[in-house]
Symmetry: C2
Subunit: 143 residues, 2 copies
């Protein structure tokens, strides 16, 4: 068993059972993202895959990420101006705390907004209320 095996299997597992083909390229893009604890841009992922010796086009990385985002396998974070960041995320509702300096991401499991938001929705007669919360700050290492 070789060292790179685990992210690959994780990636295959994430793709399994969906309506999408688990092509080698998609698996590799996702595996590369699984290796990344925070988030990465399409270009960064492409560079790493090429450095790893994979033959894959930049457009394919973009197309793979688009498919993965549609499937809900990865989240698209728009905290950096001018480029999108991608991240492997669980299905549960959660928010991200992002360091504006090093882009380290902390996943927040609990969301304490629902009680307040129920009140807000009721007070203003709104229905089907959805929310998106982005938290940015400077982490301890970048202070």
């Amino acid at each position: 068993m070789h060292a790179a095996g685990q992210p690959e299997r994780h990636a295959v597992a994430l793709l399994d059972g969906r309506g999408v083909r688990a092509t080698p390229q998609r698996t590799r893009v996702l595996a590369e993202l699984v290796r990344e604890p925070n988030d990465a841009t399409a270009q960064e992922l492409h560079e790493r895959l090429r450095a790893r010796g994979e033959r894959i086009g930049l457009a394919t990385v973009y197309r793979a990420l688009s498919v993965l985002a549609d499937e809900g396998v990865v989240d698209v974070l728009a905290h950096r101006p001018g480029e999108a960041c991608y991240r492997v995320c669980g299905g549960e509702h959660h928010h991200h705390l992002v360091c504006s300096s090093c882009h380290r991401v902390v996943e927040l499991a609990d969301c304490r907004l629902d009680t307040w938001l129920d009140d807000v929705a009721a007070a203003h007669g709104f229905d089907r209320l959805e929310h998106r919360l982005e938290l940015t700050g400077v982490c301890a290492d970048c202070r």
Copy 2:
């Protein structure tokens, strides 16, 4: 006193007392943003100014917004992929509740996140924590 006077004066007031020159172009860009209850892109602002008859270049709009952002007069939002949105946010902290059908905006004066966010910041060693909350739903009239 003409109808367009108020946003202009508001813009001049926002620029006053800082180390930046309140040039006509900067004032107009900011005044245009003051008229916008939500947020707008640089290109949208440029279009509106041209439609209003102002002679202003697109690059100047970008440069003005850059200066205004550096001064903290406007906020840069990166929630739309591929382009930056700008918003006047010098005043009180608040959030917007937007109807996804008719785009009516309800301004929420109170924000009940600070207590929780202070805990979050402390728990993860983050400093200068900022947050942006987007609320969308369907209002009573559109139900």
